[in-house]
């Protein structure tokens, strides 16, 4: 492995995975000088009986739950009216920390509340990259398995606007096997595709960042080895826990680079069509790598290493590593069968909107991705990977 001339890597969260991980929450809170968290969850989480398990895990500790709000709307982002209500609740109860159980909008909302209670003024003024200048309140994320795929990253979506700041990392990520329960195959596949996209795009950049590669490699490997098993048997405990770990790591490695072409396009398409992000990203991923090879851009062999491990990696000659890894990835997405669409045509995306998607994606990736590339990729993706 080469040492790059310079690199930056930041990871805030402490990951606590496995049996009885939730029982560590009060110690973590105490270490951050907090003892009254505001707990957020969606109604679905309560219906699955997970909030009850969470409350029980805090028995016999000093932690008083300031309030348990389990009516977070199941959107793709946090909603400002709810956010304002929660800020009020947070202040009225004198809470000093935030715990989010679940994923997707719950985490976005928790991050939003955290920005609002730690900063003054209108929260929308903090939209954008690195606009938050102050450390926020302690924030613990309790995963419930397949949700958004990038909850552990440093981004939050509030009312459709992207907030990015290193202070938005969760302080602690709890991956407790009681909380990570079976979901539908569809959900598993979609969340995994988002995480896989985040991980691959963060390690397939031309410049290497050794720490980022490590996180991304673990994420890719966990997803590659466990997703098919979980899809076959959605109740698999170890499989689900491994995937939850993969999401956590993908989120962290994704936070250290600007979003890539697939991630940005996926978000743009999902926002317009209302389809889940994972569905949009799944088949775009191998296509984007192929598109890059077509443009004579190199893709580092580490991707193959992440997919196959040491033995498989060594067996493939150096020249073939890129093509082999793309083939494997393509096969992998194809193996998911009917769970994910295989082309934009199949998704019934309108062709006349491509330009708009390309523009949005380019904007989101801070012009790192050009509109022209996006258009080319979208044109390829029209026919898809079938």
């Amino acid at each position: 492995m080469q040492l790059p001339e310079s690199y930056v890597f930041f990871s805030q969260p402490k990951i606590n995975s496995g049996k009885n991980a939730m029982e560590h929450i009060y110690v973590e809170l105490a270490s951050m000088d907090a003892r009254k968290p505001l707990v957020l969850a969606s109604r679905q989480v309560t219906e699955r009986g997970l909030t009850k398990k969470f409350i029980k895990s805090l028995y016999d500790s000093n932690v008083v739950i300031g309030s348990l709000y389990d009516e977070v709307y199941p959107y793709h982002y946090a909603c400002i009216s709810q956010l304002n209500d929660l800020v009020e609740l947070f202040k009225a109860r004198g809470c000093d920390s935030i715990i989010a159980i679940g994923g997707g909008s719950v985490v976005d909302l928790a991050k939003g509340v955290n920005i609002a209670v730690s900063n003054s003024g209108n929260i929308m003024d903090y939209a954008g990259t690195n606009t938050i200048q102050k450390r926020l309140k302690p924030f613990i994320y309790v995963s419930t398995g397949h949700c958004g795929g990038t909850e552990t990253s440093n981004e939050a979506y509030i009312e459709n606007r992207r907030f990015v700041s290193d202070f938005l990392f969760p302080d602690v990520i709890i991956l407790d096997n009681r909380m990570i329960t079976a979901r539908t195959r569809q959900r598993a596949a979609e969340a995994s595709m988002v995480a896989l996209t985040a991980a691959i795009e963060s390690c397939a950049v031309p410049y290497n960042n050794p720490m980022n590669d490590l996180y991304a490699n673990v994420a890719i490997n966990f997803i590659y080895e466990n997703l098919l098993g979980v899809v076959k048997k959605p109740g698999s405990k170890t499989g689900n826990l491994a995937l939850a770990n993969a999401y956590a790591m993908a989120g962290i490695s994704f936070s250290n680079i600007p979003p890539g072409i697939v991630y940005s396009l996926g978000i743009a398409i999902a926002r317009d069509t209302g389809l889940p992000r994972g569905q949009c990203m799944g088949f775009l991923l191998p296509l984007s790598l192929e598109h890059r090879v077509m443009k004579n851009e190199s893709i580092r062999g580490e991707l193959l290493y992440a997919l196959l491990g040491t033995e498989g990696y060594c067996r493939v000659p150096e020249k073939e590593r890129t093509s082999t890894s793309i083939t494997i990835l393509r096969q992998f997405v194809n193996d998911l069968g009917g769970l994910l669409p295989k082309s934009l045509k199949e998704m019934r995306v309108n062709k006349y909107k491509f330009e708009e998607y390309a523009r949005q994606a380019s904007e989101m990736s801070m012009k790192r991705v050009t509109q022209k590339d996006c258009m080319q990729l979208l044109d390829i993706a029209w026919e898809g990977i079938a």
Binding site: E71, Y75, Y77, E159, N160, R348, N350, Y352
Partner: protein, 620 residues
């Protein structure tokens, strides 16, 4: 004058790019399968338009279809339909309109008009029995609707015209015919994108005669009798217009207040139809021919103007916390001049007000302040300043700026002025309506909140009635006749009239399919068969309604519509009304699967192959 018996069966197809036109005839089979009007328009578009065309591009086709009743003098038949792919929603949109254009085109000998392509410079069309002339629209381009209409109407009996909003591609621009509008779905922008300012029809060249005049006269007599008997059509609408809904809605808690946060308001009486009758001196001003006479003119701010319809009043009034009929009339006039749909404009402005309040959007709009609204409407029409973005509709705005939970639209089309949290069936109907948040697809609110034939806060029987009413109204829009005639047809037959409300309530909720037996839908089927001379009974007619509805749904699913789109704005699903102490929300998830089952859709809301085959819709 020459005569046409039944229908001329000739449709004009105009290509603006090449400035050529052709005439084609519709096979009898299609006529029998789709009746005419909206149904036939959809079928023609289904055959001609590929999937995924840009609504504002040259490939989009807009069809103006006259039904078979137009020109025959059947009661309330002065209406025509338009079908196109909507730039606001990106899916099929259909609209119904009164006014003189329909009659003029039909009496020029044409059953329909399809327009495609894009003209290089602004033009307008002149149509007579010989065909189409392409004329330069330089003189009227940029002019407000009424001024432009005055110019073109010198050449013919009827015209459709777009305003500056249509020219500026405001996504909810409408098309005007006389003083009625093809309101919803942004059809004005479709014409604007084609550089087509107006279509004039010479008219009065042919006389339309029914094939079986004896049967026709008999049916007309019965229909007129029903209309004159029914208290809604003969009294409520005739005297107070559609604004009679204000107090009914307020009482039932389904009036939109402050961007759908409250269901009723203490000051609602100030904008009610009763108050307008008492203070503004209204006179009739209706479509021709009409028996109901719901349209009125009255004096506002010292001028004689059209009385705003209920949707306009509701969405520009209580929904913006404005309770001044004069101000609402001002907004209505601006929308008329600019050529904009008042429902979508009202919904979009309400979104902008709330988003501004919450810091998501920058504007000077605020609830209860009419001055800024008037300015914003002008800006939208002229695509100036914030108007440029407001003209994209609330879906586009909320996707860009956030606030999707209070952007009150379904599939991009802003919902009309009925709060479905006080009428669950209307909630389902909004969610599954083909063109988006449309109140006319089943008009369930009237049965739930006004007539109390259904319990508003239950889900019983809602799916089946929604399906039934949608089929009926697709038939109504294909004949083409006024939708208000459904009240007398549904309610006047003796069984329904005699049954006590409680019994009716229970029987409709539990045995909805049987309710059809109580109603006298044969008025409509007899109208069609007497004019065309083909046989049609009411059962077959209902199955045609079903075919039209499923065809439209199928066309929409090809554009990407699925269960994910059959939803309501977050506010209606998650937040209760301020006026409702129980904070009830629409239990949509409970009703949707039942509706899909009744309709023959799969669980993702896509018509099953079996359903399509049964309805003889060719899969593409």
């Amino acid at each position: 004058m020459k005569e046409i018996t039944g229908t001329s069966n000739k449709v004009l197809e105009v290509d603006l790019t090449t400035q050529k036109f052709s005439v084609f005839e519709i096979p009898v089979k299609d006529r029998k399968m789709y009746l005419g009007g909206k149904g036939l328009g959809l079928k023609l578009l289904y055959d001609r338009m590929p999937v995924g065309v840009d609504p504002l591009g040259p490939d989009n086709i807009i069809a103006f279809m006259m039904g078979v009743l137009m020109g025959t003098g059947a009661s309330c038949s002065g209406r025509f339909a338009a079908v196109t792919k909507s730039p606001l929603t990106g899916i099929m949109s259909s609209a119904s309109c009164g006014g003189p254009f329909g009659m003029a085109l039909k009496t020029s000998g044409w059953d329909g008009l399809l327009i495609k392509g894009k003209s290089a410079k602004p033009v307008y069309l002149y149509i007579d029995s010989k065909g189409v002339q392409f004329r330069d629209a330089k003189a009227i381009w940029g002019k407000e609707i009424r001024k432009a209409q005055d110019v073109v109407l010198k050449e013919g009996a009827g015209a459709i015209v777009i305003g500056p909003a249509g020219e500026n591609l405001v996504r909810f621009a409408n098309i005007c015919s006389g003083h009625r509008f093809l309101g919803r779905g942004g059809m004005g922008a479709v014409l604007g994108a084609k550089n087509l300012k107006a279509v004039v029809a010479k008219g009065q060249e042919y006389k339309i005669l029914p094939a079986n005049s004896k049967k026709f006269e008999k049916t007309k007599k019965r229909s007129t009798k029903y209309i004159n008997q029914n208290p809604i059509t003969s009294n409520q609408y005739r005297v107070f217009g559609t604004n009679s809904h204000v107090m009914l809605s307020n009482k039932a808690g389904i009036l939109p207040v402050r961007n759908f946060t409250g269901g009723s308001h203490g000051e609602a009486a100030k904008v009610s139809g009763e108050r307008i009758v008492a203070k503004h001196n209204p006179k009739f001003s209706t479509c021709k021919p009409c028996t109901i006479l719901c349209g009125h003119k009255a004096t506002f701010n010292g001028q004689e103007r059209s009385v705003p319809e209920f949707e306009t009043t509701g969405l520009f009034g209580p929904n913006l916390e404005i309770f001044d009929p004069n101000a609402i009339s001002d907004f209505n006039e601006i929308c008329t001049d600019m050529g904009m749909d008042t429902i979508s404009a009202g919904g979009t402005i309400a979104w902008a007000m709330e988003a501004t309040e919450k810091g998501l959007f920058k504007s000077d709009l605020k609830f209860g302040s009419p001055k800024e609204v008037a300015q914003a409407l002008i800006d939208i029409g002229k695509a100036k300043g914030i108007g440029k973005e407001l003209g994209m509709g609330s879906r586009w705005l909320s996707k860009k700026y956030g606030g999707e939970d209070f952007a009150m639209h379904v599939k991009g089309l802003e919902i009309a002025a009925y709060d479905p949290r006080g009428a669950f069936g209307q909630g389902l109907s909004f969610a599954v309506a083909n063109r988006g948040g449309c109140h006319l697809s089943s008009a369930f609110f009237s049965l739930e909140a006004y007539l109390h034939m259904y319990q508003p806060y239950t889900t019983w029987g809602k799916a089946s009635y929604t399906e039934f009413a949608e089929n009926c109204f697709d038939v109504v829009n294909s004949l083409h006749i006024c939708q208000f005639t459904a009240f007398p047809v549904f309610l006047e037959p003796p069984i329904i009239k005699m049954l006590p409300t409680v019994v009716l309530n229970i029987s409709l909720s539990t045995m909805a399919p049987l309710a059809v037996w109580f109603m006298d839908l044969s008025v409509w089927s007899r109208y069609w068969s007497s004019v065309t001379g083909h046989r049609l009974n009411m059962w077959k007619m209902l199955s045609i309604g079903k075919r039209i509805h499923v065809l439209e749904r199928y066309m929409n699913t090809r554009e990407g519509i699925a269960r994910k789109d059959d939803t309501l704005p977050g506010r209606l699903l998650n937040e209760g009304r301020v006026s409702d102490p129980k904070h009830r929300t629409v239990p949509l998830e409970k009703m949707l699967p039942k509706y899909y089952k009744v309709r023959g859709y799969d669980e993702n809301g896509i018509p099953k192959d079996r359903t399509l085959k049964k309805l003889k819709i060719e899969k593409k």
